[in-house]
């Protein structure tokens, strides 16, 4: 802004604040800290924070704030220029055991044993694509950080580490081209998912039958794992306190939610066809959100005859935040039953779910994400939030802001008619074929 300023940050984010200021060119920024948290505290409790010390320096907070605005700048604080950032040499040499330890201790892994990315193994992995090893694939950041760039070779190294086969590489390059990291800095402990469509599901022997979301096929297991390792290495994500702040964390981050659609058993169009691709194209689609819940907990799920999965799903969404959408993960038995109920397209079911999944304005306003993300938009006149915030508390409104908040994918082995649902929103679909 060109005028003196002081950021006021809670102590829990000390490392993040200092490191992010450094990455953005102000390594000596005068940051003042309060105790953590301020959320949930009364005005009286927060007055104690203001009157008390900065918990990082121990000095009176308000003196630090005033000093931050008035003490003349040091030479370091006036510096200009461009400085390089090193990530170390291109290769590391040691015994296999020591290298395993080194990769683990330096945050290059998911803390499980890896396949060492030797030149030989990376070269073999690179045979999985026609693209040049030095081609830049994209840029990735695990949040509001300056993004890192990476090449085909970088992606191949992470693919080797995760235990992938060379023929899996195009999928990882396609994911890399989106720039989306599966580890995100937010305190919310986000989870990520990918949907695979097209003939590549059979060619690479993805599991979309019994246990489709479980550890029962190499492609599902290692491609999901590779995305997390890529996020750490290509986008510098997953560093607790720096580029990862998820308070509780998310177990789904280990290999993400890899969903190969059971296109053959589905009564509906495959997901990628809904997104404008041809059925014979190979496509990966990315989702982001909070997690997955099982359908067995829904009201009405004990019905033995004529189960109404539309109503069950609607009930399942009652705790979801509308900020993220709802991704229905339907076993083929569920999908077929829904079609028998009259939903001969996914869109018909989506329209019903949008219309019939509702909440009161009071409940809506009480949700965390409404306050954080949608109330500020309401103040700017963004619909439907502006209208919703003007309605009386007992008014009934849709649970999700729009019908496009819903997505449906079919997978599973038809051993029982159990759906699952993810509080996740659609991001993007990209061609895998382009990276072969």
């Amino acid at each position: 802004m060109g005028i003196p300023s002081v950021p006021l940050v809670t102590k829990a984010f000390k490392d993040l604040a200092i490191l992010n200021a450094g990455k953005r060119g102000m390594p000596h920024e005068r940051i003042c800290f309060t105790p953590h948290p301020v959320w949930g505290k009364t005005p009286e409790e927060l007055r104690v924070y203001v009157d008390g010390p900065d918990p990082v320096t121990g000095k009176p907070l308000m003196k630090e704030v005033v000093d931050g605005l008035t003490v003349p700048l040091s030479d370091d604080e006036k510096k200009t220029g461009i400085v390089s950032v090193s990530v170390g040499p291109p290769t590391f040499t040691d015994t296999a055991e020591n290298l395993q330890e080194f990769y683990l201790n330096n945050g290059y892994t998911d803390f499980m044993p890896i396949v060492l990315p030797t030149q030989e193994k990376v070269d073999a992995m690179l045979k999985g694509t026609s693209h040049h090893p030095d081609e830049v694939v994209g840029k990735m950041a695990a949040g509001a950080y300056p993004p890192w760039s990476y090449t085909v070779r970088h992606v191949a190294a992470s693919a080797v580490m995760a235990g992938c086969r060379p023929e899996y590489l195009p999928i990882l390059l396609a994911i890399g081209s989106t720039g989306i990291a599966s580890l995100f800095s937010s305190t919310n402990s986000f989870a990520f998912s990918m949907i695979l469509n097209g003939p590549i599901r059979d060619k690479l022997e993805f599991n979309y039958g019994i246990g489709a979301l479980g550890p029962f096929a190499q492609a599902n297991a290692t491609i999901g794992r590779a995305w997390t390792i890529m996020s750490k290495n290509l986008g510098n994500g997953g560093i607790p306190g720096d580029t990862y702040l998820g308070s509780v964390g998310n177990n789904l981050n280990y290999n993400n939610v890899v969903i190969a659609e059971n296109e053959e058993a589905s009564p509906w169009d495959p997901f990628h066809v809904q997104r404008g691709f041809k059925k014979e194209e190979n496509v990966v689609s990315i989702f982001r959100g909070l997690g997955v819940v099982p359908g067995q907990v829904a009201r009405g799920s004990s019905v033995n005859t004529s189960p109404m999965f539309d109503a069950q799903l609607s009930d399942l969404f009652s705790t979801f935040t509308g900020f993220f959408g709802a991704l229905v993960i339907a076993d083929p038995l569920v999908a077929v039953r829904l079609k028998e109920q009259g939903y001969d397209t996914k869109q018909k079911l989506i329209d019903w779910l949008y219309k019939n999944t509702t909440q009161t304005v009071k409940d809506y306003k009480g949700r965390n994400y409404s306050y954080l993300f949608e109330y500020p938009q309401a103040l700017q006149g963004v619909e439907p939030f502006a209208t919703w915030y003007k309605l009386p508390d007992d008014a009934v409104i849709p649970h999700f802001p729009r019908a496009s908040s819903f997505n449906i994918v079919v997978t599973g082995g038809q051993t029982n008619a159990y759906p699952q649902a993810a509080n996740m929103s659609y991001g993007v679909s990209v061609s895998i074929d382009k990276w072969m």
Binding site: M1, I3, P4, S5, V6, P7, L8, A17, I18, G22, K23, G25, P27, H28, R30, P37, V38, W39, K41, V50, M62, V65, V66, T70, V71, L73, T80, G81, V83, S84, V85, S86, V87, G88, P90, T91, F92, D94, T95, A96, E97, N98, E101, F102, Y108, T118, Q119, V122, A144, P146, S149, A157, S158, M161, N233, D242, Y371, L372, F373, P376
Partner: protein, 135 residues
Amino acid sequence: MNRRKLLSLLGMSPALLASSQGQAQQAKIAKSGKPPAADDAHWSALNPKGTPPPVRLIPMAPRLDSIHGKTIYLVDTGFMGGGTLLEQMQAWFNTNMPDVKVVFRKKAGPYMEDDPPLWKEIKESGNAAIMAIGH
């Protein structure tokens, strides 16, 4: 961990950290703390890290001689509790430095979005800003 150690973890060159040019950033080498046995075969493995962008240093704005008689903006970015904290800070200024004009503003949009009109207002009408970030 202090600021210098934190920033050194980024792999930033010493120029970013201090005036002294004497501390060259050493390339990271494989150190497990355990020397390899003489008969262990050595492997060479790729550094899997991508390429970070260089850092363009931004000089900080000149400080004020004093904040007495000046206009200070308190900016609530929208994190929960931040506005309440700043209201208490405003009360502190009213009690302890009553000649400081304090202007409270809630940044438009969700916390991760920029608000250029507010920055313009602060630059034109204010002398300094304090921004609450986090919860």
